[in-house]
């Protein structure tokens, strides 16, 4: 089962690229995605899907990454669809809301952009071991050290967040199974019972988080963790493939700006 933030081993070129290039690409892509007009945005999404395909990432994995965010995606769509001004072709009188052609286009565009952002993030986290991503973040944040920003601490915090995310998700799944094993049936339960089950699930997961955090802190201390005084296992070194990727990324960026300008 894939969770957001999980790294899956693979042999495609993207796996071997310097994480700094990949991180820069995701940042550039995020800006580009959010600035894109409808048609370039479609091309951008398709380009990402093709890239995912050539990286060996299956559609099912992408679906698994999107699934937990489905509620927000639907919410984003409806908020844009219903609150964007335009000539209404459907009115929901009791709530004073109206659905317009412009609203629908805005809803589809923002949802598509959001999906593209997720796909770009999945491409980065799935093809780069977390230590590499963290090393890249540290590299870009390094100048902030001059302003006494604890860059190393931030890097360790990101590492722990990435590590604990799948652990907590599986803990949540385990508690849900335990609830079902004791007769709880979500589909047949009433609203109050569902709220109660949700609260007990939240409490159990939260307690687990605190217990784990405590034990993890002790384990880190036992392995000599000291803030700000660590070296790194990851060696960042740009090779020819990285320079080629950087070149293509720049070309892509300028082509996109041109396309966005033409279709705008």
């Amino acid at each position: 089962m894939y969770h957001i933030g999980s790294y899956i081993r693979g042999g495609a070129i993207i796996y071997r690229l310097d994480p700094r290039i990949k991180l820069a690409a995701v940042i550039v892509l995020s800006i580009v995605i959010l600035a894109a007009k409808p048609l370039p945005s479609v091309f951008l999404g398709l380009a990402l899907i093709i890239l995912a395909f050539f990286s060996g990432i299956r559609l099912r994995t992408i679906a698994q990454a999107v699934k937990p965010l489905l509620f927000f995606i639907v919410l984003i769509f409806f908020v844009h669809a219903l609150f964007t001004e335009g000539n209404a072709f459907l009115s929901i009188t009791c709530f004073g809301l109206s659905l317009s052609r412009a609203g629908l286009s805005a809803g589809f565009l923002v949802t598509w952009q959001f999906l593209c952002l997720i796909l770009a993030a999945v491409l980065l986290t799935m093809t780069s071991p977390p230590a590499q991503i963290i090393a890249a973040i540290k590299y870009y944040l390094y100048p902030l050290k001059l302003l006494r920003v604890p860059v190393d601490v931030i890097a360790v915090m990101i590492m722990l967040a990435l590590r604990m995310m799948p652990v907590l998700l599986s803990e949540k799944e385990r508690i849900e199974i335990a609830q079902r094993a004791r007769g709880y049936n979500e589909k047949k339960s009433g609203f109050i019972l569902r709220i109660k089950a949700f609260l007990s699930l939240t409490a159990a997961v939260l307690l687990g988080v605190f217990r784990r955090a405590d034990e993890l802190a002790v384990a880190m201390e036992a392995r000599n963790y000291q803030q700000d005084t660590r070296t790194s296992f990851v060696e960042l070194r740009m090779v020819s493939t990285d320079f080629i990727a950087l070149f293509f990324l720049s070309v892509f960026f300028f082509i996109f700006i041109a396309l966005n300008y033409c279709f705008g």
Partner: protein
């Protein structure tokens, strides 16, 4: 040498005196088992060895370094490694090699040296092929091996294991015990907490902790010969010892101070021959 001199420790919040005057010496290369009922202070005791907790009274000296002096902590933690009961809560990296590298990174070693140590540690526990794997995709036994490798990468002189075979299937438990035994032959001092008396019998010395005190100490034959005292504390005997005691109670002339399977087999063979 690890020297524990008359230490006391109290969990203030719970109001529990976990250790009440424990004294113990552990030599480099020794294999020591710590046994005792739940809540008797075994885990608290080994956490003192790594300076994770400091004694309220008394001293813990690791190769001449006092754990109460915070300046010694980096050196102490490099000398004494800790393998906790639940590997899930001690694995920090997301891939096997990232996690094993965590300790050497903290020791501020250069990248090449870290890589060398990671490969060496993974090789020692026999999981070099798992180096790039996501820890989430490993079995419980494999996670335990990663935790051990993470400690080995710091090249400790002593390793404290807190129930290293708990919740493992027999094959995985056997693998862990084999590694512990191998480490001990490489002169790594082992401090092994266990509730499994067959595992405890593998050690060269067994220390029984009860209510925060050392209640017995000696070689496995001595300790497991004190059947009544152990049973009073609600503890079991190694299976082979228990079998021989039952045979003796039924009138068979067998020795009962035996803890190893091989010795027990010899006793039974002898019994069959004389009959």
């Amino acid at each position: 040498m690890i020297s524990i001199n008359n230490i006391y420790y109290r969990y203030e919040q719970e109001g529990i005196d976990a250790l009440c005057g424990v004294s113990l010496e552990i030599q480099e290369g020794e294999h020591l088992s710590l046994i005792g009922p739940n809540g008797c202070g075994k885990t608290t005791l080994i956490q003192h060895l790594n300076a994770l907790i400091l004694p309220r009274q008394g001293k813990v000296i690791i190769d001449g370094l006092n754990t109460s002096d915070t300046e010694n902590h980096i050196q102490i933690r490099s000398r004494v490694g800790m393998v906790f009961q639940n590997p899930e809560n001690q694995i920090i990296g997301m891939t096997v090699e990232e996690d094993v590298a965590f300790g050497p990174e903290n020791l501020q070693l250069p990248t090449a040296a870290i890589k060398e140590r990671v490969a060496e540690a993974l090789e020692r526990v026999g999981i070099l092929e798992l180096a790039k794997r996501n820890v989430e995709h490993l079995s419980g036994g494999e996670k335990r091996l990663v935790a051990i490798a993470g400690v080995l990468a710091m090249r400790p002189r002593y390793i404290a294991f807190d129930e290293p075979t708990a919740f493992l299937d027999p094959a995985a438990a056997k693998r862990i015990l084999k590694i512990i035994d191998k480490l001990n032959t490489e002169n790594v001092g082992i401090i092994h907490i266990t509730h499994n008396m067959d595992e405890a019998a593998m050690a060269s010395r067994v220390v029984v902790i009860n209510e925060g005190r050392v209640s017995m100490e000696g070689d496995p034959q001595d300790i497991f010969g004190k059947v009544d005292l152990l049973q009073e504390m609600g503890m079991q005997l190694p299976q082979v010892t228990e079998l021989l005691i039952r045979l003796k109670l039924d009138g068979f002339p067998v020795r009962t101070d035996i803890v190893a399977m091989e010795d027990a087999t010899e006793q039974i063979k002898l019994l069959v021959k004389t009959r």
